[in-house]
C-alpha cells in the first residue's frame, strides 16, 4: 500500500472521531505548549543576561584578586588581594595584545551634593576606562591623562547619583563633597542599566584612580584591573599573557596557584547564565511530564480504538491487508494525532510565551531549535505510545477479529 494512501486512511479515521481526537490531542497540545513556554522563559532570561554581559564592554578582560588558602582552607575570592597599580602598569608596558588598561579602585562613600546626600560606589579609574566599558558621556567632559597624573579632584557621575544629588539640575561644573574633600563634577555618564546580578551600574561616581587612592581612600591594593584588546581574536592570547605577567610580578613559583583571576566576557556570561540554564532544563523537564502524560493518553485511546475496531481490522485483513499494513495504519494514526497536537501546541506555545511576556514583563524567546525539538519529540511520543496498540492490532487473527461483536 502506498504511503500517501496510508496517511489518507489514517486521516479519515481520525476525522471520524473529531471530539475524541481533539481530547486526545489536548494532552500533546498542552505538553508541547508548556515545554515551549517554559523554555521560552528560560531562554529569554539567558539572552537577557548575555545582553547585559555584552553591555559591560567590548573585548574586555577583567583581572580580579584571587583567593588565599591557609592549611587547606580556602578563604574565597578576593581574600588575598595582591593586585596593585604596579601590576596594571606592567600589563600596560609589557603586554603585546592588550590595547587599553585601567585599574579600578573601589570604595563606598557618602557623597554630599547640590540638593542632597547619597551613599554610592566610588570608582577610581584611568582614562581608558570609558572606552573599555564602551560607555559614553551624556554631558560634560571626561578627565584627561594630565588630571590622572596630578590627581586632580574631578569626578564624573552616573545618572543615578546625578539624579539623587542634583535632581533636575545640571551637575556639570558643580562641586560635591566626598569625605570632606571638595570635588568638581565635570561630566555625567549615559545610563547603563543593571548588571546580571541586578546591581545598578549607574549608581557610581568615577574619579581618577590617583585621586581616589591618594586623597579619598588611601587603599594600596586595587579591586580590579580592566583590560581590553583591539581585536576579539586576541582575547585568549591576552589572557595567557596577563597570566604570565602577573605570575612573574607576584613572584609565584611554578607549583603555586594564581593569586588572581583573569576572566573574559564569555566566562562571565557562562557563570551568570549557568543558573538560568539549569532553570530552563528544570522547567522543561517538568513540562515534559505533561507531554509524557499526553503520550499515555494517546496510547490509551489507541488501545480503545483498536478494540473498538477489531471488526474493521478483521475486514481489512480478510480483503488482503497484511499485518504490517494494519500496524502502519494505526501507527500513522497515532503519529498524525501527536504531530498535529504538537503543531497546535507550538502555536499555543508561541501565544503562551507572548502572554507570559506581556503579563510578567519577562523577556521570552522561542528559539527555532525549540520548535523543531518539540515537533520531533511529539512525533517520537506518537511512535513510542502508538507502537504497542498498533502491534496489538496487527497481531490479530482475522477469523477471530471478524467474529468479534
Amino acid at each position: 500500500m502506498r504511503p500517501f494512501r496510508l496517511v489518507k486512511v489514517a486521516g479519515k479515521s481520525i476525522l471520524k472521531n473529531k471530539m475524541r481526537t481533539l481530547l486526545t490531542m489536548l494532552g500533546i497540545i498542552i505538553g508541547v505548549g508548556a515545554v515551549l513556554v517554559m523554555v521560552a522563559v528560560g531562554d529569554g532570561a539567558k539572552s537577557q543576561i548575555e545582553n547585559q554581559i555584552r553591555n559591560l564592554g567590548s573585548n574586555m578582560l577583567v583581572v580580579t584578586p584571587g583567593s588565599s588558602s591557609a592549611g587547606g582552607v580556602s578563604r574565597g575570592s578576593g581574600s588575598f588581594n595582591r593586585l596593585s597599580l604596579e601590576d596594571a602598569e606592567k600589563i600596560r608596558n609589557e603586554s603585546v595584545f592588550v590595547s587599553m588598561v585601567s585599574p579600578v579602585v573601589t570604595t563606598f562613600s557618602q557623597i554630599i551634593g547640590g540638593s542632597g546626600n547619597w551613599r554610592a560606589r566610588l570608582n577610581g579609574v584611568d582614562v581608558d576606562y570609558l572606552l573599555i566599558r564602551d560607555w559614553d558621556l551624556a554631558s560634560g567632559s571626561w578627565f584627561t591623562p594630565q588630571d590622572v597624573r596630578s590627581g586632580k579632584k574631578v569626578a564624573v557621575l552616573g545618572t543615578t547619583v546625578a539624579d539623587k544629588l542634583f535632581s533636575g539640575q545640571d551637575p556639570v561644573g558643580q562641586t560635591i563633597q566626598i569625605r570632606n574633600v571638595p570635588v568638581q563634577v565635570i561630566g555625567v555618564l549615559e545610563p547603563k542599566g543593571q548588571t546580571p546580578e541586578g546591581s545598578d551600574q549607574d549608581d557610581v561616581v568615577l574619579a581618577p584612580y590617583t585621586t581616589v587612592q591618594q586623597r579619598l581612600s588611601r587603599f594600596r591594593f586595587i579591586s580590579q584591573i580592566l583590560v581590553s584588546t583591539s581585536n576579539q581574536n586576541d582575547i585568549p592570547a591576552a589572557q595567557e599573557e596577563i597570566n604570565q605577567i602577573l605570575r612573574e610580578s607576584h613572584g609565584l613559583a611554578q607549583f603555586e596557584e594564581n593569586d588572581f583571576e583573569v576572566k573574559n566576557q564569555t566566562q562571565l556570561a557562562d557563570a551568570a547564565s549557568g543558573t538560568t540554564e539549569v532553570m530552563t532544563l528544570l522547567l522543561a523537564a517538568i513540562a515534559s511530564i505533561s507531554l509524557l502524560v499526553g503520550g499515555i493518553g494517546i496510547m490509551n485511546i489507541m488501545l480503545v480504538s483498536v478494540t473498538e475496531r477489531t471488526r474493521e481490522i478483521g475486514i481489512r485483513m480478510a480483503i488482503g491487508a497484511r499485518g504490517s499494513d494494519v500496524l502502519v495504519q494505526f501507527l500513522i494514526e497515532a503519529i498524525v494525532m501527536s504531530v498535529l497536537g504538537g503543531a497546535i501546541g507550538v502555536a499555543v506555545g508561541f501565544g503562551g510565551a507572548a502572554l507570559v511576556a506581556n503579563i510578567t514583563g519577562w523577556s521570552t524567546v522561542v528559539e527555532p531549535n525549540t520548535v523543531i525539538v518539540a515537533l520531533v519529540f511529539s512525533a517520537a511520543v506518537g511512535i513510542f505510545f502508538g507502537f504497542y496498540p498498533a502491534r496489538k492490532a496487527a497481531a490479530m487473527n482475522p477469523i477471530d477479529a471478524l467474529r468479534f461483536e
Binding site: R5, V9, G320, R322, D325
Partner: protein, 256 residues
C-alpha cells in the same frame, strides 16, 4: 494441472486443541471446484463448513493436506503471501455485510484495491464505481452504509468482493441477515454473476438458498457426505413470481 480447476483440496484435516481435548473439525476433504461453477456448501452447525470456508478463503491453515487455489499451493504460504492471495484471488461476502461504518459505498468498495501490491488498478475509484454499477448501485455511490437497506448493503459487499476481479467469490451465509424477498434478489445477482463466468462458493445451511446453486457439497462431522450436481432453480423466476404474488395480494386488499 487442469487450468479450469479453481480449487483443489486433498486430504485436508483441521484439528483444534482445546486444553487436553482435540477437536477434529475436518477429517480429510477432497474437493475439486471448476471454473465457472456455483457451488453451495451445506451442513449443520458443527459440520465443519465454517472451518472449510476459512481454509478455502485463505484465512486459516489446514493441519494436514494440500490446497491449491488457482494453481497456487496455498497451505505452504507465509502469512503475508496468504494476505496477498486473499487480496488477489478471493472476494469475500459475509453474512453481516461487514462494511466499514461511516465510510461511503464507493470507499468501501475501493478498500481491497488499497492493499493491492501489484498496483493493477490505476484508478481505484473508477473501478469501484464500475463494480457498484455492476451490482445495480451505480446511483448509491456516495451513500453511507446506514443510509442503505440490508439488500443494498450486501450488494455493496458483493461489489467490494468483485472489484479485484478475483478467481472466486466466497460467500458465507450471504442471505442470513436478509428477508425472503431480498434473499431472492441477492441470489438473482449471484446467478447473474455466475452466468458471466464468475466462480461462486456459497456456504449456507438453507436448502432454499442451496437450490439456486448448480452443485451441492454437504458436510457432516468433518467429512463430505454428498457432492452432486443439480438442476439449479432460477432465482429471477422466483423473484418475479414473488413480486407478482405481492401485487395480487395488494390488489385484493384494495378491492376488499
Amino acid at each position: 494441472m487442469d487450468e479450469s480447476v479453481v480449487i483443489r483440496t486433498r486430504g485436508i484435516t483441521k484439528v483444534y486443541t482445546m486444553g487436553t481435548n482435540q477437536v477434529h473439525a475436518l477429517r480429510g476433504i477432497d474437493v475439486d471446484i471448476l471454473k465457472g461453477e456455483m457451488v453451495a456448501i451445506m451442513g449443520a452447525s458443527g459440520s465443519g463448513k465454517s472451518t472449510l470456508m476459512n481454509i478455502v478463503g485463505g484465512l486459516d491453515y489446514p493441519t494436514a493436506g494440500t490446497y491449491e487455489l488457482d494453481g497456487i499451493e496455498v497451505s505452504a504460504l507465509s502469512k503475508n503471501k496468504l494476505a496477498d492471495v486473499r487480496n488477489q484471488k478471493i472476494g469475500f461476502v459475509f453474512q453481516g455485510f461487514n462494511l466499514l461504518a461511516r465510510t461511503t459505498a464507493v470507499e468501501n468498495v475501493e478498500l481491497p484495491l488499497l492493499y493491492d501490491r501489484l498496483g493493477r488498478v490505476r484508478n481505484p475509484r473508477e473501478a469501484a464505481v464500475r463494480a457498484l454499477t455492476r451490482v445495480g448501485l451505480g446511483d448509491r455511490v456516495d451513500h453511507l452504509p446506514n443510509e442503505l437497506s440490508g439488500g443494498q448493503q450486501q450488494r455493496v459487499a458483493i461489489a467490494r468482493a468483485l472489484v479485484t476481479e478475483p478467481a472466486m467469490l466466497l460467500a458465507d451465509e450471504p442471505t442470513g441477515n436478509l428477508d425472503s424477498v431480498t434473499t431472492v434478489e441477492v441470489m438473482t445477482l449471484f446467478q447473474e454473476l455466475n452466468d458471466s463466468g464468475i466462480t461462486i462458493l456459497l456456504v449456507t445451511h438453507e436448502h432454499d438458498v442451496a437450490s439456486y446453486a448448480g452443485r451441492v457439497i454437504e458436510l457432516r462431522d468433518g467429512r463430505v457426505i454428498r457432492d452432486e450436481y443439480q438442476e439449479r432453480v432460477s432465482a429471477r423466476d422466483d423473484l418475479e413470481r414473488i413480486l407478482a404474488e405481492r401485487r395480487m395480494d395488494e390488489m385484493e386488499e384494495v378491492q376488499s
